[in-house]
C-alpha cells in the first residue's frame, strides 16, 4: 500500500505503524459523569466496517507525523490522507 503523505508525497505503508479507528482521537473527558462507560467504549469497542474506514497511521520511519488515512478495508485502496492535527481540529478537539 502507498500512503500519499500530505507533506512528503507517496510513501510505502511499511514506513508507518498503525493505530486504528480515527475515533481514538476523541478521548472522553475523565470528569464526565459517564466516564467509566465512555472510556470502555472508547478503548475497546469498534465499528470495524467493511468498506471505507478512517484510521490513524504514524510515520515512524519518516517525519513522525500522525495521519488520518481514509482507506477501503475490502480493497486496501487509499482514498484520502490528511494530517491528524487538521482532522482533530476539524472535529473540534484542542479547544
Amino acid at each position: 500500500m502507498i500512503i500519499n503523505h500530505p507533506l512528503l508525497g507517496p510513501r510505502d505503508a511499511a514506513e508507518f505503524t498503525y493505530l486504528g479507528d480515527v475515533s481514538l482521537i476523541n478521548r472522553p473527558d475523565w470528569k464526565d459523569a459517564e466516564a467509566e462507560r465512555k472510556f470502555h467504549d472508547y478503548l475497546y469497542l469498534r465499528d470495524n466496517p467493511a468498506g471505507e474506514h478512517r484510521e490513524l497511521w504514524y510515520h515512524e520511519q519518516g517525519d513522525r507525523s500522525w495521519l488520518v488515512v481514509t482507506r477501503d478495508t475490502v480493497t486496501h485502496e487509499v482514498k484520502r490522507v490528511e494530517l491528524a492535527r487538521e482532522a482533530a481540529l476539524a472535529m473540534g478537539r484542542g479547544k
Binding site: A13, A14, G20, L43, L45, R46, N48, H53
Partner: protein, 415 residues
C-alpha cells in the same frame, strides 16, 4: 454409511459405485429450535448440540460452502500450551476432544500429534517457558523443557549458533500437532447430518428478527427462518453480522497470511515456532512446509495481504532454519480474523435474549474448534457457560477482567 477398512475394500472391488454424498442438501424449514450461523465452529456446535445435549430441530446456515471461512484457510496447528487459568483448561479440553475425534465422528480428519516445540533464545525466555510448562502440567496437559542437546537430536537443522538469536532450548508439547483443517468441518457435518441437523449452504444471514429485546429468528438470502435460540459463529465477519442486531463488539477484523513451499522430503519433526520473532512452521503429509507469522496489522476484510509482511515472515524463517531459503514458495493466501482486544475469544450470551455469540478467535481458533463447539452447544442448550469457557465473556473489559495471555495490555493485535 459407516466408514471402515472393510468398506474401502468392498468399494474398491465394486468399482467405487456405492459411495454416497456425505450430507443432505435440504432447503431451510420455516422454523427450528436452534439456528446456528456459520459452519466452522458452528458445525461443531451443531454436532454436540444434537449428540451430547440431545437437541432436535437444528439448522446450520452458512453463507458460502463448508470450510470456506478460516476453518479451511489456517495453518492447521493444534496445541494446549497456554498460561492463563481462563484459557488453558479450555484448550486442554479441546486437545482431549481432538484425541478422540476421528473415532467419535467415524471420519479421518488426519489428527497428527507430531508435537510442537517453542524455541527460546535467552535465559529469561527459558524461565518463561518453564513457568508456562508448569501451568500446562497443572491443567493436565503434557510439557517438557528441552535443552540444546535434546533439541539438536530432534531438529539438527536449526540455526543454533545464530549471532543475534542463538537457540538455548525449547518448550516441547508432544501431544500438539496438526489436523487436516477442512476435513474437520466435513467430519462434523457428516456426523451432524446423520443426527438430523439441516446444513444449509449458500444461505447468508442478512438480519435478525428482534422483538422487545428477544431474538425470534433470522432473515436470510433464502427467506426468513424462525428460531428458539440463535447462535452466531462467524469469526472474521462478527462485527458485520452482530451490527445487524445493534451490537458493537470489542473486535477488529485483520488479515493473516499463510504460505506453503514446494514438497520436500520429510524434514521437520513436528511444529516449530521461533521465539525471537513471529514464525511457525510444520510440514504437511505431501511434504510442503506450511508456515506463517504476524498479521499484516491494519483493519482488513480483503482475504489477502501485502508484501512487507511476506518479507517479515520469511526473515523469521531464515533466522530459525536457514535451509528454508532453498525451498520455493508454492502458494500463499490470507484469511480475515476477529482480533479481540485482549487476544482471547468470546462464547457468551448477548444483551438480546435468545441471541448467543461465539467469536474473537484471533489467529488461534482452529485448535479450539472441538471445545468451542462443545461449549457453544452447552451455552445454547442450558443458557449458561460451560466450566472451561466461563471467562470468555463480552463484558470482561467493562469489569477489568481481561484475559491478557501475553501480558501487554489491551490491543487488537494479539493472538
Amino acid at each position: 454409511m459407516r466408514y471402515s477398512a472393510w468398506h474401502i475394500l468392498k468399494q474398491g472391488l465394486t468399482g467405487n459405485k456405492g459411495w454416497q454424498p456425505m450430507w443432505r442438501e435440504p432447503e431451510p424449514k420455516p422454523a427450528y429450535d436452534f439456528v446456528i450461523v456459520g459452519a466452522g465452529h458452528g458445525m461443531a456446535a451443531a454436532y454436540y448440540l444434537a449428540k451430547v445435549f440431545r437437541a432436535k430441530r437444528i439448522a446450520v446456515l452458512e453463507k458460502g460452502w463448508l470450510g470456506s471461512g478460516n476453518t479451511g484457510r489456517n495453518t492447521t496447528i493444534i496445541r494446549s500450551n497456554y498460561l492463563m487459568p481462563a484459557n488453558q483448561p479450555f484448550y486442554e479440553f479441546s486437545m482431549k476432544l481432538w484425541e478422540g475425534l476421528e473415532q467419535e465422528l467415524n471420519y479421518n480428519s488426519m489428527v497428527s500429534q507430531r508435537g510442537i516445540m517453542n524455541v527460546f533464545h535467552s535465559d529469561p525466555q527459558r524461565d518463561a517457558a518453564a513457568r508456562r510448562g508448569n501451568a500446562m502440567l497443572f491443567s493436565g496437559a503434557d510439557a517438557e523443557l528441552l535443552n540444546t542437546d535434546d533439541l539438536r537430536r530432534k531438529a539438527p537443522f536449526l540455526d543454533f549458533e545464530n549471532a543475534r538469536f542463538p537457540i538455548k532450548g525449547a518448550l516441547w508439547q508432544p501431544r500438539g500437532g496438526t489436523v487436516r483443517h477442512d476435513a474437520v468441518v466435513w467430519g462434523y457435518a457428516r456426523a451432524a447430518d446423520a443426527l438430523g441437523v439441516d446444513i444449509i449452504q449458500n444461505c447468508e444471514v442478512t438480519g435478525f428478527q428482534i422483538q422487545d429485546g428477544v431474538c425470534t429468528g433470522v432473515e436470510t438470502s433464502k427467506g426468513p427462518v424462525r428460531a428458539g435460540r440463535v447462535g452466531v459463529c462467524v469469526a472474521g465477519s462478527s462485527s458485520r453480522v452482530m451490527e445487524k442486531a445493534g451490537i458493537r463488539l470489542p473486535v477488529e477484523s485483520h488479515v493473516l497470511q499463510a504460505f506453503v513451499s514446494e514438497g520436500l522430503k520429510p524434514a521437520l519433526p513436528g511444529v516449530i515456532t521461533f521465539g525471537a520473532g513471529h514464525f511457525y512452521v510444520s510440514q504437511s503429509d505431501k511434504g510442503g512446509l506450511v508456515f506463517g507469522g504476524d498479521i499484516d496489522g491494519y483493519n482488513s476484510y480483503a482475504q489477502r495481504g501485502n508484501l512487507p509482511t511476506v518479507e517479515d515472515v520469511c526473515e523469521g524463517g531464515m533466522a530459525l532454519m536457514p535451509f528454508i531459503g532453498r525451498a520455493r514458495l508454492l502458494r500463499m493466501w490470507g484469511g480475515v480474523m476477529d482480533m479481540s482486544m485482549d487476544g482471547s475469544p468470546f462464547i457468551d450470551r448477548t444483551a438480546i435474549t435468545g441471541l448467543y455469540f461465539n467469536g474473537g478467535w484471533c489467529y488461534g481458533g482452529f485448535k479450539a474448534t472441538p471445545a468451542s463447539g462443545y461449549c457453544m452447544a452447552h451455552l445454547l442448550a442450558h443458557d449458561r457457560s460451560h466450566a472451561t469457557a466461563s471467562q470468555f465473556r463480552l463484558d470482561r473489559f467493562l469489569r477489568g477482567q481481561l484475559i491478557d495471555e501475553k501480558g501487554v495490555g489491551a490491543q487488537p493485535n494479539l493472538h
